[in-house]
């Protein structure tokens, strides 16, 4: 599945469809969600105060542990663990985890590719660090998706329903009490997307 291979916005009035398409594009860009979304369909019915959205996500990668992004070595004599970083993008998350466990005083960064930790049990700690979970893109994606859904929905639509299962995301929002049909309609939109939904 390519990113954004289906991107459909429907509304009774064409010009309003364009406005919402632009809003969705802008918010996808600012939350850096575009690469994660395969197919998306949004239906707007202002006269019913209704906003429906169905999304099929692409594979977003697996959980990241230290060994995926760095080499971990021990220096038993010096009592140090040396982490040589290969992928810079996860440094902030790695450092937060390390600070939590060892304290800032015990961690130094001689250069941007190296983090050294002074500890009494370098060998054991190195084993632990290797398996430590650094980042979970799925978790971050979930946060961003919810944020995205709230940002693109008209503000007054405060009654919300959402479903996030596997790579499927359904969101329905309204000002009134949600009706069962609306959620079912959104479910049907999702099925349509699953079948290809290319237009």
């Amino acid at each position: 599945m390519d990113s954004l291979e289906t991107f459909v916005v429907e509304s009774a009035i064409d010009s309003e469809t364009e406005f919402y398409r632009k809003i969705i594009e802008d918010n996808l860009a600012s939350l850096k969600l575009a690469p994660a979304i395969g197919r998306i369909k949004v239906v707007l019915r202002p006269e019913d105060s209704l906003f429906q959205m169905a999304i099929i996500l692409r594979d977003v990668g697996t959980r990241v542990t230290t060994i995926d992004i760095a080499d971990v070595e021990t220096k038993p004599v010096a009592g140090e663990v040396v982490i040589s970083i290969k992928k810079e993008q996860y440094i902030p998350e790695l450092l937060v985890k390390l600070w939590e466990r060892y304290g800032k005083a015990n961690i130094s960064q001689p250069d941007r590719w190296t983090v050294t930790i002074s500890t009494d049990k370098p060998a054991e700690e190195a084993e632990f660090i290797k398996e430590m979970l650094i980042a979970d893109p799925r978790h971050r994606l979930h946060e961003n998706l919810v944020d995205f859904a709230i940002r693109v929905t008209p503000e007054g639509f405060r009654v919300r329903y959402h479903l996030y299962k596997g790579n499927r995301f359904v969101f329905v929002a309204s000002e009134e009490t949600l009706e069962r049909e609306w959620i079912e309609e959104a479910g049907a939109m999702l099925d349509e997307l699953m079948e290809g939904g290319k237009k």
Binding site: S15, K22, I23, L44, P46, S49, E155, G156, E175, E176
Partner: protein, 311 residues
């Protein structure tokens, strides 16, 4: 009474004092002075017959002098709420653009303005909006909402109402209670900089200027007892504390009054007793009340027909 024309001067800080002195000599008024780095913006009221002299001097100082039709107009930019759906784009863009021709704008987010059925405004908010000269409501992209649901927010608003929204085919008459509708400025999540968006903002400025002009014309038939700019100058002279106020516009001019950004309880007597050369005090010429905005002082000048004379 001399006719005063609003102008905006933009130029270097160097020697701009000459312009301020000239304005004193000619009997004009400096409304606002904003210094940013080495640049200065002067918003001023120039006597009609002396405009050429000011133009000549600003040319010598290598500055730019442009007409600023919204000078002395305080505009409320009202957004349904202060949530990220409306801010900073497009409500801030609207407010910022209205400042180009000299207006002072205040951003106002309603507490419960969002939604269709549930949107409402509070008495406090309506009173605050009514303190301004013109209200600009920034609405969204659905014509259904703009024509049918949102106009209830206009109830109790006594000043001219301008509405901005997305649909470009709506007409002012479609929106009950609105005095003007400007399209192509709907809900967006990016800065308004595409050609049609900037054109729409430009259009908004022109149309709002027309509204301000028509209010001025109406006022000309029954003039104010004293020019707001003159009240402003007298406050600067007689209430030195105004110089310690850090707000960008400590004295904000309105078409029919002045907002004084000093605490009411401490200063209202001083303002009431403000003296003019003609021997009258301000309390005879104007209503002085507590503003809904931050406990400031609001001066609304009475008309000549009200008090029988004008100075």
């Amino acid at each position: 009474m001399a006719v005063l024309l609003p102008y905006l001067y933009t130029g270097g800080v160097h020697k701009h004092g000459l312009l301020i002195e000239l304005m004193e000599d000619l009997g004009g008024y400096i409304i606002q002075k904003v210094v940013t780095g080495t640049e200065v913006n002067l918003i001023m009221l120039v006597p009609e017959k002396d405009v050429d002299i000011v133009k000549k001097l600003s040319k010598e100082l290598l500055g730019i002098l442009v007409e600023a039709p919204l000078t002395g107009v305080e505009i409320a930019v009202v957004s349904p709420t202060l949530a990220s759906h409306h801010l900073p784009h497009s409500a801030c863009d609207v407010a910022e653009y209205l400042r180009h021709p000299g207006a002072n704008t205040n951003m106002l987010g309603l507490a419960r303005g969002m939604g269709r059925r549930v949107s409402l405004s509070m008495d406090y908010e309506r009173k605050l909006i009514n303190e301004h000269d013109i209200a600009v409501f920034t609405f969204g992209s659905f014509s259904d909402c703009i024509t049918k649901k949102k106009p209830k927010l206009f109830e109790g608003i006594e000043i001219p109402i301008v509405v901005t929204g997305g649909p470009s085919d709506l007409k002012t008459e479609d929106i009950q209670g609105a005095d003007l509708y400007v399209g192509n400025i709907g809900r967006v999540s990016h800065r308004l900089r595409r050609t049609e968006e900037v054109n729409a903002l430009e259009n908004l400025n022109q149309e709002v200027s027309k509204i301000a002009d028509s209010i001025r014309k109406q006022q000309a038939r029954d003039p104010l007892a004293v020019l707001p700019a003159r009240v402003m100058k007298e406050i600067e002279n007689q209430v030195p504390e105004i110089r310690t106020v850090l707000s960008p516009a400590p004295l904000t001019l309105q078409l029919d009054g002045v907002r004084v950004k000093l605490p009411y309880d401490q200063f209202h007597e001083k303002i009431e007793k403000l003296e003019f050369d003609e021997g009258v005090t301000l309390s005879e010429l104007a209503n002085i009340s507590r503003s809904k905005m931050k406990n400031y002082i609001l001066i609304k000048i009475k008309s000549k027909s009200d008090i029988g004379f004008a100075i």
